[in-house]
Symmetry: C2
Subunit: 247 residues, 2 copies
């Protein structure tokens, strides 16, 4: 009902993809050299989103998907009674907005965790391009499929892991994604609060905080507020698979 009045900036920018160093994480990956140059016309525009502002909200009409060029986001779904579930944290090169294709309306909120910038990819144009660029079609399908697989592994986490296993899996995943982006796998800043991590992992913020403290006591990580150092990555991974008791 309420119009989105987020402070956004539109920037018509050509050469969006061909000069972007994120392509190997993003939609253009695996596309032949000749087709690659055509992709600059795929991106409609770029949009800047300030921290805490929505890129889109649940019930907004679906028109485009978004590739994160800079910054990071959370996606969440809400229950009428106010309960929130964070369904994902998105980093540079990742795609947002796929939830809207099925119904023509977004089914979750996408909120910037820091000042961020996205490439707007009008969906109608994407479908058109995908029909002539085989590699683009395939890469798009792969991205959607991987989202499904990721969601399934979150269901596994939420349905059958205990609190510390969940946090260990979260940290391991963050570390991997940092690595893929050329950042340190052992040292990073979390852009989300304990409450948002908790919501993502199906835990309360106090439980997240206690698990962080416990990991620190065990020498697995060092925590200073949002700054995390992973001291024993193998130890964390072992935790994920650990069965508490089986007799």
């Amino acid at each position: 009902m309420k119009a989105t009045t987020a402070p956004v900036t539109l920037t018509g920018l050509k050469k969006a993809c061909s000069q972007c160093n994120l392509f190997e994480l993003c939609l253009p990956f695996g596309i032949s050299e000749t087709d690659f140059l055509r992709l600059d016309d795929l991106v409609g525009s770029q949009r800047k989103i300030k921290r805490q502002q929505p890129l889109y909200r649940s019930a907004d009409p679906f028109e485009a998907i978004y590739a994160i060029r800079a910054g990071s986001f959370k996606s969440d779904v809400l229950l009428e009674d106010g309960r929130e579930q964070v369904t994902g944290f998105q980093m540079t090169g990742e795609i947002l907005g796929l939830d809207g294709i099925g119904t023509g309306v977004h089914s979750c909120n996408a909120i910037a965790l820091e000042d961020s910038e996205v490439c707007v990819i009008p969906y109608a144009r994407l479908e058109e391009f995908a029909r002539s660029i085989e590699g683009l079609q395939h890469q798009f399908h792969k991205i959607m499929s991987r989202e499904i697989v990721r969601d399934h592994s979150m269901m596994l986490l939420l349905g059958s892991m205990r609190a510390e296993e969940r946090l260990a899996a979260f940290l391991t995943n963050m570390s991997q994604r940092c690595t893929a982006r050329g950042f340190s796998p052992t040292e990073f800043h979390l852009r989300m609060t304990r409450e948002e991590i908790g919501s993502y992992l199906g835990l309360k913020l106090e439980t997240v905080s206690r698990a962080f403290s416990h990991f620190q006591e065990k020498g697995l990580i060092s925590v200073q507020q949002k700054h995390i150092c992973i001291l024993d990555a193998e130890g964390l991974k072992k935790l994920i698979q650990h069965q508490p008791c089986m007799h």
Copy 2:
């Protein structure tokens, strides 16, 4: 490592889609009349799967997606230590196998809950058809997107609902899907065990059983083993949104 030795039957059958009464739930939905007839060549073959047998297993190479023509399936992912998470139950008209596109390898198991039959849709052929049939491309994207939205709502369920809310949501969902298939919305047979329901909902089988009993005591449903009658659908829906205490 182990080859799939499931007792399957291959049936080359023409007119797979144009004579199928499930089309409005399935991949051909929303496709123009002229394109519709071409779809019979999309389906490679049909395959019968006996109860408890896998349609595919995690780590199997991905070659095709499957449309359920008769019967029903569960999908699950396994942790090395043996823990299982059911990620979904699939009914007629629904699509299986989307998890394999991203990596070229299946990431979950699809097991028949009863003797079932699927249409095999070779993925390479689907991509090819989607490039020339606009409606097919769009419908395929919609199906993947809806899968993502469904998974997000499962994450909401697993992350922030209590046991009885989860079961109420499950029963309400089953009822809706029965309705969509022309079956009674108030009376149906569950094809899965309490343990499988529990795995799906992130609960133990005893908790599922107790919740069933409690619903019956409250006059919301009647339960006889796998046979369910919904007596008060509104009451169940109210349960889903109910906040236990807020002061």
